[in-house]
Amino acid sequence: MSEPLIDIRRLVKYYPVRGGVFRRHVADVKAVDGVDLAIQRGECLGLVGESGCGKTTLGKTLLRLHEATSGRIYYNQPAPQVEEVERLLASERDGDRAAAWARLKDMDITRLGRSNLRKLRQRMNIVFQDPSNSLNPRMLIRDIVAEPLVAQHLIKARDVEKKVLDLLHVVGMGAGHLKRYPHEFSGGQRQRIAIARALATSPEFILMDEPTSALDVSVQAQILNLLKNLQRDFHLTYLFVTHHLLVVKYTSDRIAVMYLGKIVELARTAEIFQRSLHPYTKALLSAIPIPDPDSKRERIILSGDVPNPVNPPKACRFHPRCPFVQERCREMEPLLEDAGSGHAVACHRWREL
């Protein structure tokens, strides 16, 4: 098995809710609540879930666009070292833990200093959901695409035009588009520009935050194909955040399903679709409308809505909506356990269902 590029351990992100006259801290929105996830080098990991489940927060915390509340994110660290630090952290002795914390300063994205973080930002990038909001309407396309390079001092002024042109060619655009503004382009073209900008510093890792959900079907297909080809040509690693299961099925090697701040199931793409184990995944899969009038499926209709993440249900967070709920599910939280061949699931009853 290849080494993970990003190794997430017990990641937690709470947003404080303030109230009262003194803006006291009254509660937390538990957006990400203890996530363990490893993203392998060169893979596309799909992260699926309903709105408000914390998938975008998780992605943005990886890039440190949000500060994590607790937990570690190891970026490109050899596995033995990661294991050793984790062992020290769990140790009883204060000295061991202090040593671990000292080492984390250089290993953990959530604790990196300014200059290290700046260097790291060359290697990670993001494509946002809606390109009409993520491109500055008052900048020329040339400046938009060159901005990461200029900000990182990676390029001389006279090389900018050529480099930007190369990038635009990569995403299927041309010289005629250099000196124009974002509003002159259609949604699909804007997303191409956003992708070119993400590629500018030759990153290893790109976070795709619902890159096609603002686009039409025929354009979505173009962008998905482009992303696949780019991944192959530039050896990129993607974290593909979306709510659209058929899109991740097309793009991803593995899929992680998230529910209310927790990963409930993680497996290879084909495995998720053939042998899903968690009842939530099953419901999610059965709810996708399939573009085939003859497809016969048994539908699981979940009752109710996604609970409020300020006050999530105790024990298994899915139990109020789960059709297979038992006493156990209301009392004990299921942990993510291995179900064979890299398939992990967090459910007490996966063996029986």
């Binding site: 173009q222 999610l284 573009p291 009038p293 809505d305």
Partner: protein
């Protein structure tokens, strides 16, 4: 099969500063009785404009410039239909929300945030079912009076009853007048005169003053605290609202009716909007992307709800969506729209099994499927700007089979096989 509503050669334009947006380019579609009809297309293809034209609620600067919208369910002469584009606004008001109603994409923007849910759902009962509500209230009062009681309370009830009875009488008279005018209008339409429109407008204005005609009603209006008698009517309406909400699977309907839209989740808000639309048992429900802002699991709930309502309550559903999966799931027949044109119309099975129009073929191929193998096919290019649309067939610049003839004139819609209509030169004069 009996037609329910039909549009013929509908053109709608939007006059903007940049030019005239030709949003509809001669749209013809038919919704039959008892079917779920889908209208599919990408954003900006005119599917929403098409149904808004059909309901005559196109907002300025939009204007329906040409065409007909025929309704068949209300016709004095059911086979020929009534052209509602030539009817008065008052006529449309009596149709909208009563026999045709509509639900919109974003439930949160179609509900008023400062009015209670009970009030908003009850509005349709007040507006379209006033007579029934009054009758029920009077019946309730009679029942209570029959049981006897304290004489002051009795007096109040007798008074209320008299006021309601008066209002009911006036309303019936008014509705009778409207019916007569409608008949007259229909006859005069054949002769081609616009005169009765003014008379109908006057009647419409009279409706607002109903119930205030008598001395009693005048007192009720002037004396402070007297209007409280109307709370009786509110109570009857509220009872119907709660019943309706319960039938749509809203938990705890009494409490929800007291509440306000922001207290509810997106899925629940959409249920409320559906409740408003269904209050008067419409013959046609138009659903304009009712689920596209909802999560998949909630979308599944709403789709199931619409399906079961279709079986029990409503005759036909016109379902607008960009999601081909949803079309396959719930529709019987569907049309594919592209840039203001109907490209293809067929039964859903035919449409998915044997798509004829190159755009339909491209669209189907570019959706990721469960059994997706290999690369996703794409349609090159993007949706054209409708200020300056391509000549002839509007799809020809993106079409893999474009011919010389496609650039010239818009292709006619032909029936390729029974019930399968397509607008493409590939199939004209019996080819393929």
């Amino acid at each position: 099969m009996q037609k329910l509503i039909e549009t013929k050669n509908l053109f709608t334009d939007f006059n903007t500063f940049e030019g005239v947006v030709k949003a509809l380019n001669g749209v013809g579609l038919v919704v039959n009785e008892g079917e779920t009809y889908g209208l599919v297309g990408e954003s900006g293809c005119g599917k929403s404009v098409a149904v808004r034209s059909l309901m005559r609620i196109v907002q300025a600067p939009g204007r329906i410039t040409e065409g007909k919208v025929l309704i068949f369910f209300r016709a004095e002469d059911r086979s020929r239909g009534i052209d509602i584009l030539r009817r008065s606004e008052a006529y449309m008001t009596s149709i909208r929300g009563d026999s045709i109603s509509m639900i919109f994409q974003e439930a949160c923007t179609s509900l008023n945030p400062v009015l209670s849910i009970g009030f908003q759902v009850g509005e349709s009962f007040h507006f379209h079912r006033r007579a029934q509500m009054l009758e029920e209230t009077i019946r309730d009062l009679d029942e209570e009076l029959g049981r006897g009681g304290f004489f002051l309370a009795r007096g109040w009830k007798v008074l209320s009853r008299a006021l309601f009875a008066r209002e009911l009488g006036a309303l019936k008279e008014y509705e009778g007048a409207i019916d007569r005018i409608d008949h007259e209008l229909y006859r005069l339409e054949e002769a081609g005169s616009g005169e009765p429109l003014r008379r109908k407008g006057a009647l419409q204005r009279r409706r607002d003053r109903l119930g205030e005609k008598s001395v009693l009603a005048e007192i009720a209006r002037r004396v402070p605290g007297f209007r409280r008698y109307r709370r009786r009517l509110e109570r009857t309406v509220r009872r119907h609202v709660v019943e309706l909400l319960r039938s749509l699977g809203v938990p705890n309907p009494e409490r929800i009716a007291e509440g306000y839209p922001h207290e509810l989740s997106g899925g629940m808000q959409q249920r409320i909007v559906i409740a408003i639309a269904l209050a008067c048992h419409p013959v046609l429900l138009i659903a304009d992307e009712p689920t596209s802002n909802l999560d998949v699991t909630i979308q599944a709930q709403i789709v199931e709800l619409i399906k079961s309502l279709k079986q029990k309550v409503i005759s036909s559903v016109l379902f607008i969506t960009h999601d081909l999966g949803l079309v396959a799931e719930i529709c019987d027949r569907a049309s594919v729209m592209y840039a203001g044109d109907i490209a293809e119309t067929a039964s859903v099975r035919e449409l998915f099994r044997q798509p004829l129009h190159p755009y339909t073929q491209g669209l189907l191929a570019s959706v990721p499927k469960l059994s997706q193998a290999g690369e996703l096919a794409t349609i090159p290019g993007t949706v054209p700007n409708l200020i300056d649309p391509p000549t002839g067939c509007r799809f020809h610049p993106r079409c893999p089979h474009a011919m010389e003839v496609c650039k010239g004139v818009k292709p006619p819609t032909i029936e390729h096989s029974p019930g399968h209509w397509v607008a493409c030169y590939l199939y004209s004069d019996g080819k393929k």
